[in-house]
């Protein structure tokens, strides 16, 4: 019994589901954003897990998952910055961050 790939995958799946639940059910836009961040990190865990247990040579493929995770973290940071800026902007305009009320772009 040791740490196997399945542990990583289950952890990733659980994290993903928590994030998804948060993103779908929260009304606060910041909470939705947090849900999305959790989902991204769930993916990162999965990526790193796969990479760690990868037995395929050569090294370039060996490292792919880890590099991907770093990329995702970078993009997530940028996304968080943009999304938070938008949320602040919306809040200034409409005095709310409730996603149910931000529904101007309909039919």
């Amino acid at each position: 019994m040791g740490l196997t790939l399945n542990h990583f995958l289950v952890l990733g799946a659980v994290l993903f589901c928590i994030g998804l639940y948060g993103a779908l059910s929260k009304r606060n836009a910041v909470a939705v954003l947090m849900g999305i961040e959790i989902m991204l990190n769930a993916v990162n865990v999965t990526m790193v897990g796969f990479a760690f247990y990868n037995t395929v040579k050569p090294w370039s493929t060996y490292l792919t998952g880890q590099i991907f995770a770093i990329f995702i973290i970078t993009v997530a940071a940028a996304e968080a910055a943009v999304a938070l800026a938008m949320i602040i902007s919306i809040y200034r305009k409409r005095n709310t961050v409730d996603v149910d009320e931000i529904n101007m772009m309909k039919w």
Binding site: A23, L24, S25, V99, D100, N103, M105, K106, W107
Partner: protein, 720 residues
């Protein structure tokens, strides 16, 4: 042979005149026309002409200060023609004169009077210089070649002489008749266009070219009937507006042309050629029944163009056009195109079953007596002549139908030849009267009940008209005597006894209604020469003899109306080997004198009735007698043909149109609009999906992924 080869100049010179006038001198005329017309002393009134293109509306102050608005035709109001207009007329006339001289030279040469060139071969010659193929070069290898080609033979020359001569005289005459009309230049350009189109029919070597010419004369006829485009209808005189009459003529002709075109197509499909000479040999291999059907269909075109029953309805309204047009197009030449076309395709008709020629002859015979009966009751001066034209065209078709192979198209063409001159004379004479009455009464008068006793006032018109009346009646030694009696006699000789009786009766009727028209216009009770020369004038004003431009053509045509009949070699000229007319045969034949007797009875009857009895009394007697009244009514209403067509179109044609319109509105439009409504309706409902709430989209997105994942899992596990 160069004399013959260059005859294409006759064909193309009127086209040249048309182009120069319409693009050149007419523009000059329009550019230099004065915008305000000066007052004329005649009306003693202030006159302001508003020139708007070719058409004018004239506002006059009447003698008591009332406002009078005249239309273009109503009162002549172009006091002076511009140089551009005059040059248009001169150009057209000079070119037509040259063409006319050339065609007379051709005629004299081929008839043997002069000998510049050897006579034409019986087949005629092709005019290679202006013939061309529509598809040339290697590209067309193996394709059917459609050629535009022209040829010349004796038949063409005889017709060409008629066309160019009558055209020339009518154009000369128009100088006087149309001098006050605003569209003077336009008129001459149309006349030139007509001459070109007609000559195209004359020169045609194949059906394709004759059909092009056929449609072009239809177009010129349309343009010229509707020449006075501002003129309104006169329902009280049962007269259409020229614009409507033009449309009626055009559309009625189309009905016949459908048959013509189908006939040509059948012939082409079976023989592979349009060329008349090639067809003459090729059709001998065709199925007789098909050929007969094709020829009857081709004859439908002639029925339309030559105003035969049942398509005669367009010709009387066509008289709304200017009188020179009626003379040229609707009496002498264009309506004879049907006769010419049947003559041209005579060999094809001869190769078909006898039924083909019987259709021709019977159509002609029925038309002849039908139109002659109607003409008796008409009171409109030009309309009598219109019906007489229809009737005489019927004679020509009888002549073609019964002639048989010995005579060929000779008798029919001979009547065309003589008829062109005296009928043009009748129309131009009528035009002279109308012109003069217009000046006398200051309005357009065509009703013979407002004429009478005009002979001493306009002696040249009267005497030339009388000559034409005698010529058309078949009075001995005038032109009609020779041509018409030949046809009537041939009907008997070739065993068409019923047609013989019909044509004989018609000749009596012709004599009656023509002398009636003469006496109503020029004579009357109390005139000299037993009522033939003068009498009571029933109109107003003081009519005078027309100017020289009008009377000179009358005199020339009067001479032709006598002389034309003495061309006894005509039959063998048209068809080598045909027997010729000769005095000894004509004068010793009992049938000739029987025909003359019938004509004389007609003349005597008209003379006795109209010179002794006042017109009002004749009317009273007719209206007082029940039978006569009904008969008169039927004839006046033209056997109710127009009313029948009116009903037919109003209820049957328009009824079907309404049904089709309903189909279009409800079925076709229904399908199209229904689809559009379905799409917009679906869109209107489905767009509710776009709620604008980001979490709803996410549910859709992840739900979709979940569904796909389940699908893939199921497929991977269970389907393998």
């Amino acid at each position: 042979m160069a004399l013959y080869q260059y005859s294409w100049l006759i064909l193309l010179s009127p086209l040249f005149a048309f182009a120069v006038i319409i693009f050149g001198t007419r523009m000059w005329d329009l550019a230099t026309r004065r915008r305000v017309v000066a007052a004329t002393a005649e009306h003693e009134a202030e006159e302001h002409g508003e020139v708007d293109g070719d058409f004018q509306l004239i506002h006059l102050k009447g003698p008591r200060g009332e406002d009078l608005v005249f239309e273009d035709i109503e009162d002549p109001k172009v006091p002076r023609l511009t140089p551009g207009a005059r040059v248009s007329g001169y150009l057209s006339i000079v070119i037509m004169a040259l063409a006319c001289i050339y065609s007379w030279i051709l005629l004299f040469n081929t008839a043997g009077v002069i000998s510049i060139a050897p006579p034409l071969p019986a087949q005629g010659i092709s005019l290679g210089q202006i013939s061309y193929s529509w598809c040339q070069g290697s590209f067309c290898q193996g394709l059917t070649s459609y050629t535009v080609s022209f040829h010349l033979d004796n038949l063409a020359i005889a017709m060409m002489v008629v066309v160019t001569t009558v055209s020339l005289l009518v154009q000369f005459y128009s100088q006087g008749y149309m001098e006050n009309s605003a569209g003077y230049a336009r008129f001459f350009s149309y006349l030139s266009l007509f001459a070109f189109s007609m000559l195209m029919i004359v020169f045609a070597e194949n059906f394709l070219v004759i059909f092009i010419g056929w449609e072009l004369v239809g177009l010129s006829s349309y343009l010229l009937i509707g020449f006075w485009i501002n003129k309104r209808a006169k329902p009280e005189e049962d007269r259409l507006s020229p614009a409507s009459a033009a449309i009626e003529a055009f559309i009625t002709n189309r009905v016949g042309d459908v048959g013509f075109l189908i006939g040509i197509m059948i012939l082409f499909a079976n023989t592979g050629t349009f060329n008349f000479n090639q067809l003459a040999t090729a059709v001998t291999h065709m199925d007789k029944a098909v050929l007969t059907a094709a020829m009857i269909l081709v004859f439908c075109g002639a029925i339309g163009k030559s105003a035969q029953v049942p398509l005669q309805v367009w010709l009387p309204p066509a008289m709304e056009g200017p009188t020179p047009v009626s003379a040229l197009i609707h009496a002498a030449t264009m309506v004879a195109a049907g006769v010419y076309m049947v003559s041209r395709t005579f060999l094809l008709f001869a190769a078909a079953n006898p039924a083909a020629f019987q259709v021709v002859a019977w159509t002609g015979g029925i038309t002849a007596i039908f139109a002659a009966l109607i003409a008796i009751a008409q009171t409109d001066f030009k309309r009598v002549l219109a019906f007489s034209t229809i009737s005489q065209l019927g004679y020509m078709f009888v002549g073609l139908g019964i002639a048989g192979n010995v005579y060929g198209p000779g008798p029919g063409m001979f009547h065309l030849f003589t008829h062109a001159f005296f009928k043009a004379l009748l129309f131009l004479g009528a035009g002279s009267v109308l012109h003069s009455l217009h000046h006398a009464m200051h309005r357009e008068v065509q009703d013979m009940r407002l004429m009478g006793g005009l002979a001493p006032k306009m002696p040249i018109t009267a005497i030339t008209w009388l000559i034409a009346v005698l010529a058309i009646s078949g009075f001995p030694f005038f032109a009609g005597f020779f041509s018409k009696d030949t046809i009537i006699g041939l009907a008997y000789d070739n065993g068409y006894y019923a047609l013989y009786i019909i044509t004989l009766l018609t000749s009596g009727l012709t004599a009656f209604y023509m002398l009636r028209a003469y006496i109503l216009a020029f004579g009357g009770k109390g005139g000299a020469w037993g009522g033939l020369w003068g009498g009571t004038y029933r109109g107003e004003g003081e009519p005078h003899e027309s100017p020289l431009t009008i009377t000179i053509p009358l005199v020339l045509l009067a001479i032709a109306s006598i002389v034309a009949g003495y061309w006894f070699g005509f039959f063998s000229y048209i068809k080598p080997g045909a027997p010729n007319l000769s005095f000894s045969v004509i004068l010793t034949d009992l049938k000739t004198w029987l025909t003359v007797a019938v004509s004389l009875v007609g003349l005597a009857w008209a003379y006795a009735l109209y010179t002794r009895v006042e017109l009002a009394r004749i009317n009273a007697v007719v209206q007082g007698n029940a039978v006569l009244r009904v008969l008169h009514r039927i004839l006046l209403r033209k056997f109710y043909f127009d009313d029948l067509y009116d009903l037919l179109i109003r209820y049957v044609v328009l009824g079907i149109s309404h049904i089709e319109q309903a189909f279009d509105t409800y079925i076709i439009d229904g399908i199209v609009n229904g689809i559009a409504q379905l799409v917009t309706g679906t869109g209107r409902d489905v767009r509710k999906v776009e709620t604008g709430r980001v979490q709803a989209y996410m549910v859709g997105f992840f739900g979709g992924i979940a569904v796909l994942a389940i699908l893939v899992f199921v497929l991977a596990v269970f389907v393998k």
